[in-house]
């Protein structure tokens, strides 16, 4: 057998191309070379980045080209045997005569990307109380003092809101309890959960509950109820006590100790996947990236969401928001990521959630469901807010703005307005129309469009205009800077690329 193989190998060596006679060469199958036809362009945007050009198509695929390649490409002169041509063809920036699959696949991807709107509203936020035991200077919802019971939701409002919730055609319904501190109105949470489950016996939707709480009031009875009704818990953890307790003061100054103890308490009753934490970046946080991340590791989390302050509520009133700009946050973000990479390199998987979200937008066709980066905006379409007083808002940010006496995004009141009025006659459609990046100045031709969105509430809050001037928009700078930073790693750093890929 060995000898036979050797003879045969020698025979093979004599053949020049290695192909037996009855087979055609690669040239025979090239559309361009056999038919002399040229390629046609598919829609794309581009932007100059560090001397090269970043090209993106409608669905977020990208290619980097040199200037002369870009020029040759758009003039249909690009060398069809080049690597860049292959990349442009594979990622649907061009198609060749006779090919239909590129258009079929591109439209499939576009439908997939927008499939989130097929479901319509899925996230329903119930502000069951605006009262809070904390007094955070950065509070974005402008909380009320603990004793002020007129800021609680009542049963009539809750029931009317639930009727509204089940009007959504969405198969998935998530009800999120927010505040203030929602556990200050625990009886109302229980009432809503039980009533929602009653309705759902007939509706049969995929129903889920979340409580966003500072955990101070968590006790065995609450946890038992959460366990029986499969309720998730989301809390706030800003870092070690030096940071957490200064960002989030409460009487007794023991917020950090309470939250850490109660995270474990929740975990021990509900299980490891039922609790998550969010951090808010204050000026104090900016110089302590490693300590904050260590705090999350120590508290048993395998990821963190690095979240800058939003321009609402006390964050504006107490001038917290002015204490740092995006540039400073971006430095903090990069420092944090550097440390997180080291943690991953040591063999421990730890994720930065915002990064993971952006990566999913860059490398997958599926929608992320993250309402802040959507076009059109998720306002009303993906999420809606029922305030304690029955007012309905298009998003969490809208009610934050309303607590600052600007009710521009109030859609109506649950006790007096119908579902139809709230969606069709409230001005919501106008807001949504003004959030379509495909038709918005500064966005429609932007190379970062597929990774971004346009938040009309944010731009209204910062520039008093739904659209805003994108050159002055931090929202815009944030997406661009982070995408560039991540693409740079994906292309030039194989070790960190593997880490980023594992987060997607």
């Amino acid at each position: 057998m060995l000898l036979q193989t050797q003879i045969w190998l020698n025979e093979m060596d004599k053949k020049i191309s290695g192909l037996a006679k009855k087979f055609q060469s690669p040239d025979f199958y090239s559309n361009i070379q056999t038919e002399g036809s040229s390629y046609k362009l598919l829609p794309f945007n581009f932007e100059r980045v560090k001397g090269d050009y970043l090209l993106t198509n409608e669905v977020g695929e990208y290619v980097r080209l040199k200037e002369e390649e870009l020029t040759a490409f758009v003039h249909q002169r690009l060398d069809t045997s080049s690597k860049s041509y292959a990349a442009l063809k594979s990622r649907h920036f061009l198609y060749e005569a006779g090919e239909e699959s590129p258009i079929d696949l591109l439209s499939l991807k576009l439908r997939t990307k927008h499939s989130v709107y097929r479901q319509f509203t899925s996230l329903h936020i119930f502000v069951v109380s605006l009262r809070c035991d904390y007094s955070c200077p950065y509070c974005q919802v402008s909380r009320k003092k603990e004793a002020a019971s007129e800021y609680d939701m009542d049963e009539a409002t809750a029931l009317r809101s639930l009727d509204f919730v089940f009007r959504t055609p969405s198969e998935y319904i998530k009800i999120e309890f927010q505040g203030g501190e929602p556990l200050l109105n625990w009886e109302m949470i229980k009432f809503i959960v039980i009533e929602a489950e009653k309705i759902n016996k007939i509706e049969g939707r995929n129903l889920a509950f979340v409580i966003a709480t500072n955990l101070t009031l968590v006790n065995d009875e609450i946890l038992e109820f959460c366990y029986q009704h499969n309720i998730l818990v989301s809390t706030s953890l800003d870092g070690p006590s030096e940071i957490h307790d200064r960002n989030r003061p409460r009487p007794g100054k023991d917020g950090h100790e309470i939250v850490r103890r109660n995270i474990e308490k929740v975990r021990s009753r509900l299980g490891p996947d039922k609790i998550s934490a969010l951090m808010t970046t204050s000026e104090l946080s900016l110089s302590s990236s490693n300590e904050i991340i260590d705090e999350y590791l120590d508290a048993g989390f395998n990821g963190i969401f690095l979240r800058p302050l939003s321009p609402y509520g006390f964050a504006i009133k107490t001038h917290q928001i002015e204490k740092y700009d995006f540039e400073r946050f971006f430095e903090f973000y990069k420092e944090s990521l550097g440390y997180i990479f080291k943690i991953n390199e040591s063999g421990v998987t730890f994720t930065e959630e915002y990064t993971s979200l952006i990566l999913r937008k860059i490398f997958q066709s599926y929608p992320t469901g993250y309402v802040d980066l959507q076009s059109p905006a998720g306002a009303g379409l993906s999420a809606i807010v029922f305030n304690y007083d029955g007012d309905v808002y298009a998003s969490d940010e809208s009610r934050m703005l309303a607590e600052m006496e600007d009710k521009r995004f109030k859609l109506g009141n649950i006790l007096t307005d119908s579902y139809e009025t709230i969606f069709l006659e409230s001005g919501l459609l106008d807001v949504i129309e003004n959030s379509l990046t495909d038709s918005m100045p500064g966005c429609y031709q932007c190379a970062y469009k597929p990774f971004c969105g346009s938040d009309p509430v944010y731009h209204y809050a910062t520039q008093k205009d739904f659209v805003g001037h994108k050159a002055f928009s931090s929202f815009c700078v944030k997406t661009k800077s982070i995408v560039n930073y991540l693409l740079d790693i994906m292309e030039n750093d194989p070790v960190r690329r593997n880490i980023l890929q594992s987060w997607i």
């Binding site: 192909l19 690669p26 669905v59 699959s101 063999g347 998987t349 066709s365 599926y366 594992s502 997607i504």
Partner: protein, 401 residues
């Protein structure tokens, strides 16, 4: 290598020119006569049983050869066929002195070849197509399916290109659906026929409860795929076919054979799949089987798997990042990167899976993909085969967290 076809059996007392018959095998000599006539009985020693009991069976197979055979429809088996047992299915062609084993009850790798015709002409085809009228295989396949035990876990349909049988193809799937509803049916097809929506709809209408189509995709670039399958417009048709099957809810597995013409774009292909075809059930990266056309095109195709392990590693990572289930078939574990080893599956059909002598001391042989025993697959192997001498003492990262 287990023999599935033999002309070395001796046939006694068969009528002049009988039609080929497909029969289930039994080892039970006490079957009621009304059932016995539907079976071939296999026994070590036929002399242990009275002639009138045995004469009720459709064929009598003896593992031992005997002198002076008076029984009719008697066959003295090729010694290599002594494994044939209760529950197997065989095709007896007494006219040509042939027996083919169509189904082995002890195997998870049973497949039926339903045509030798093909509309592609792949550079590395292990079963080179022949343009012959083999439409009799349709009835054979349906008959064989009816003989198989309902408890069969899986069954493969292969060719040639099975869909070229048109209605015959649907008949076979229908037979499997009706007679083996619990059996996983895996069909190897180039998917091109399904570019016509009518064909994917017809397949959908059968409503086979556990069906998967294995469809090859060799490149993200149409001209490269077309070159490898030696058919213009094949990429277009295959992609359209996959999309139509998706619309009609038929599950698809993508198969990528890795060789010198495909390895360098593996990450690009993975990216293309992750972006465009992430809905497929899984992607299988497959090693080359050095038989059929691969022997003729050896120099154009052979690359040591060690030399493409980085590309394969990257491709796996890209697919994982998009949650596309990934498998590596036909690869020796020692040639894969540490990361990609976890995707390795021992997939070579049991009847043609072997190991080298130097693999004997290897501690991870049971996880290894092994070697094909066909063609030159065992004599031309990678230069980097190296047995694992001790189990790696790595703690999985998950446990650290």
């Amino acid at each position: 290598m287990i023999k599935l076809y033999s002309k070395e059996c001796r046939f006694y007392n068969w009528e002049e020119s009988p039609e080929p018959i497909i029969l289930s095998v039994t080892e039970n000599p006490h079957l009621p006569r009304v059932l016995a006539k539907k079976y071939a009985i296999v026994l070590d020693n036929v002399n242990d049983y009275p002639e009138d009991i045995l004469s009720g069976y459709a064929a009598i197979l003896s593992r031992q050869s005997i002198q002076d055979v008076r029984l009719s429809k008697f066959i003295s088996l090729d010694p290599e066929f002594s494994y044939i047992k209760n529950g197997d299915v065989i095709r007896i062609n007494a006219y040509a002195n042939e027996i083919r084993v169509l189904f082995r009850v002890d195997s998870d790798h049973n497949s039926l070849l339903v045509t030798e015709r093909c509309n592609s002409f792949c550079l590395m085809c292990s079963q080179p197509p022949r343009n012959v009228d083999d439409s009799y295989l349709i009835k054979d396949a349906c008959d064989a399916i009816k003989c198989m035990p309902r408890s069969a876990t899986s069954l493969g349909i292969t060719g040639g290109e099975p869909t070229l049988l048109d209605d015959g193809f649907l008949e076979i799937v229908q037979a499997a659906s009706s007679y083996l509803p619990e059996t996983y049916l895996h069909i190897l097809t180039n998917g091109r026929s399904f570019s016509d929506r009518a064909n994917s709809r017809a397949l959908k209408r059968i409503k086979h409860p556990n069906l998967m189509l294995g469809i090859p995709l060799y490149s993200d670039l149409s001209e490269q795929h077309d070159f490898i399958v030696q058919a213009k417009n094949a990429f277009e048709e295959t992609i359209k076919g996959i999309l139509n099957l998706r619309r009609d809810g038929v599950r698809v597995e993508l198969r990528v054979v890795i060789h010198k013409q495909t390895y360098s774009r593996l990450p690009d292909l993975a990216r293309f799949i992750a972006r465009n075809l992430a809905f497929v059930e899984h992607v299988a990266f497959m090693g080359l089987e050095l038989t059929g056309f691969t022997k003729a095109n050896f120099k154009a195709l052979w690359i040591d798997p060690h030399d493409y392990r980085n590309e394969l590693d990257q491709a796996c990572r890209i697919l994982q990042a998009s949650r596309v289930k990934t498998m590596i078939y036909n690869h020796q574990l020692c040639l894969l990167s540490e990361y990609s080893r976890e995707f390795s599956v021992n997939s070579i059909s049991d009847w043609k899976n072997e190991y080298l002598e130097k693999c004997t001391p290897c501690m991870r042989k049971n996880e290894c993909g092994g070697f094909f025993s066909t063609g030159f697959s065992l004599t031309k192997t990678s230069d980097f085969i190296k047995p694992f001498m001790e189990l790696e003492k790595m703690i999985p990262v998950k446990e650290i967290c």
